[in-house]
């Protein structure tokens, strides 16, 4: 067998994810990738293909490693409304503090870029949205089974609403929106779904 790769493609891709996540596709040059990952153009192109392929792989990885785990956690949570409360609390904390503060959501960010004209990217955005909505819906069904949902509530519409709210949080967090204000909005949405006032 010939020579073997001198780097870990998985580690490199994670670095690329952070680059595209923070700066977007158009603002990130191949030179940035080369500098950040430490590997050179040859290895980059041989391993991942061109820039568009690289962005696609990065977005896929983001969804798998960041979005879907959160969705699964939400859908599997048996508590109902508290699961939704925790989901949004974790979202807001991740968006406003720590390493990824003010980076927003890479998928939400992708909505506005030129990258979204790529059919494969567009498909990823739609899948992501569907999965988010479905997780919301599952949590709401659980909540209803626990008698935590007010009467005459359309769970489907409520799931769509909460999904859109998440996009709003993601977007505004990039402009440095206050975590407290975001939390207050989320609380208002969730308490309007539940009976009436907070316990």
């Amino acid at each position: 067998m010939p020579d073997i790769k001198h780097f870990d493609p998985d580690t490199a891709l994670e670095t690329v994810v952070r680059l595209f996540w923070r700066q977007g596709a158009t603002s990130t040059g191949i030179q940035d990738v080369v500098t950040a990952t430490g590997l050179n153009r040859s290895s980059l192109y041989a391993t991942f293909g061109g820039k568009q392929d690289l962005y696609r792989a990065a977005l896929r990885r983001y969804v798998e490693r960041h979005s879907q785990p959160a969705f699964r956690r939400l859908a599997a949570d048996e508590r109902g409304l508290p699961a939704l409360t925790d989901f949004f609390a974790a979202l807001i904390e991740a968006r406003c503090t720590g390493e990824y503060a003010r980076w927003g959501c890479m998928v939400a960010n992708a909505h506005t870029g030129a990258e979204s004209s790529d059919p494969e990217i567009r498909s990823l955005l739609d899948q992501h949205h569907q999965q988010l909505r479905d997780a919301m819906h599952t949590a709401l069904v659980t909540a209803e089974a626990h008698g935590q949902v007010g009467p005459d509530t359309d769970l489907g519409a409520a799931a769509d609403l909460l999904a859109l709210l998440a996009y709003g949080v993601n977007l505004r967090s990039r402009a440095g929106a206050d975590a407290r204000t975001l939390s207050r909005s989320v609380t208002a949405a969730l308490s309007s779904i539940g009976g009436r006032a907070a316990p």
Copy 2:
């Protein structure tokens, strides 16, 4: 007096707005602007300055000509909840059909771009958000005065929530979100603010 401009800067800027609105700042080259406006680089730079100045001017114009009129209409509407219903209906129609379909909101789009690192742009984003939120709040106060708002409703939190919802609509509309689905989400939000079921 010397020579006078052979074009209308206002018309040209409107063309530039549509360019930046649809494609974003980084994906739009000066050559695109030259081609779309029909005027040449010299006139462009002499009139508007560099690309960043041009984008700033375009975003300012967008807010003045598109956002603020809608905000003022909403805040001045004396009907309360129906004003909010109409606001969102008009928003969704503008985002999903007609000339600007799938363009989203230029201000929302600006949240994800590299352009938002510019302090002046950042300030514009915050102003825009504040104005949107305030218009929502004014409409909600009017609604409460008309007895259209359920008890124990935090109007401030509700205004924040509706503003975030608008950003969600703007973002998802760029990916081709279904107008019907968006409307359903908005209806759910508004009817949860009002008494309970729809009339």
